[in-house]
């Protein structure tokens, strides 16, 4: 039986509490992983392991972290993601809300983009695939 959005959120929340040592009331849908929850780069690997286990899915590295786009000169100019790059990111990450990032699409801003809600959307997309 498919998981409801609430059930997905509860499991994502549990994974983040475990991986980041944060309290459950901090893990809200609009909390950003890096800015609000203090995730560091190594934590993303931990989060991936925990989500894979919790949902019995496989998460390829490039799906949550499109580094190849952000380091590709075809998609980045003067430290900013180009219009073509934004299209590529949206294609790659349809589950992520990129509207804030689009306002100032500097590469360094990308790191603080993902929210808890984005992760839930990602998992929901994976489970529905």
């Amino acid at each position: 039986m498919a998981l409801s959005q609430d059930e997905i959120f509860a499991k994502v929340q549990e994974a983040l509490i475990d991986a980041l040592g944060v309290d459950d009331d901090e893990v809200t849908t609009d909390a950003t992983l890096v800015g609000d929850l203090g995730a560091e780069s190594i934590d993303f690997l931990d989060i991936v392991f925990k989500l894979e286990k919790a949902f019995d899915i496989t998460i390829p590295r490039e799906e949550l972290s499109p580094e190849d786009v952000l380091t590709n000169t075809q998609y980045v100019q003067d430290g900013k993601v180009t219009a073509e790059g934004l299209v590529e990111l949206k294609t790659r990450m349809p589950w992520a809300d990129l509207s804030e990032f689009e306002k100032n699409p500097r590469v360094e801003n990308f790191g603080n983009l993902l929210t808890v809600g984005d992760l839930c959307n990602y998992v929901e997309a994976k489970l529905g695939a």
Partner: protein, 168 residues
């Protein structure tokens, strides 16, 4: 510097699990000095011993070609002190493995008593990260594995002895 926190591998199945023992001796300076008047093996060194077993379990899975480092301690619960004369029996199980890292879960027991529960995450250093080249000098890791009886017990999933890999 000596940094052997496992005395001996007792069981090793590639990609699955690694078991080993650590004897706690009053002869070890750290046992005597960590908590003067109350000799014990520091809990962090229990964790280090389990990390050595786990790190080798993960590294062997990739034929020792990746630069594997302990990246995160997910859980470390100690139920008792490890005192001189105790023999700690470590059991480490591979939980998940990726191209970028791996997780293991482990227990330490003293006789029939659960001593500690540990969960660890390992990551692989990308080339040029922190340091260039291999993490061990030529032959050093192989020597350590031989000292710990690794090749006496290590088998692959089919029960065949694991080879002495070229890059050791």
């Amino acid at each position: 510097m000596r940094w052997f926190w496992v005395d001996r591998f007792t069981e090793f199945v590639s990609g699955s699990h690694a078991h080993g023992i650590k004897n706690v001796s009053l002869d070890e300076e750290v046992v005597d000095e960590y908590s003067p008047g109350f000799p014990m093996l520091p809990p962090t060194l229990v964790l280090e011993g389990i990390a050595q077993l786990g790190g080798i379990l993960v590294s062997e899975h990739f034929e020792f070609k990746k630069r594997c480092v302990l990246a995160k301690v997910g859980k470390a619960v100690y139920h008792h002190f490890a005192r001189p004369g105790d023999q700690l029996y470590y059991q480490v199980k591979m939980d998940s493995v990726h191209e970028t890292g791996a997780t293991v879960s482990a227990t330490s027991s003293i006789g029939n008593t659960l001593h500690a529960e540990i969960e660890l995450m390992f990551a692989f250093l990308e080339e040029g990260r922190f340091t260039e080249g291999p993490l061990f000098g030529p032959g050093d890791l192989e020597a350590m594995l031989r000292l710990m009886n690794f090749f006496h017990v290590a088998v692959d999933a089919s029960g065949n002895p694991v080879p002495v890999y070229d890059c050791l």
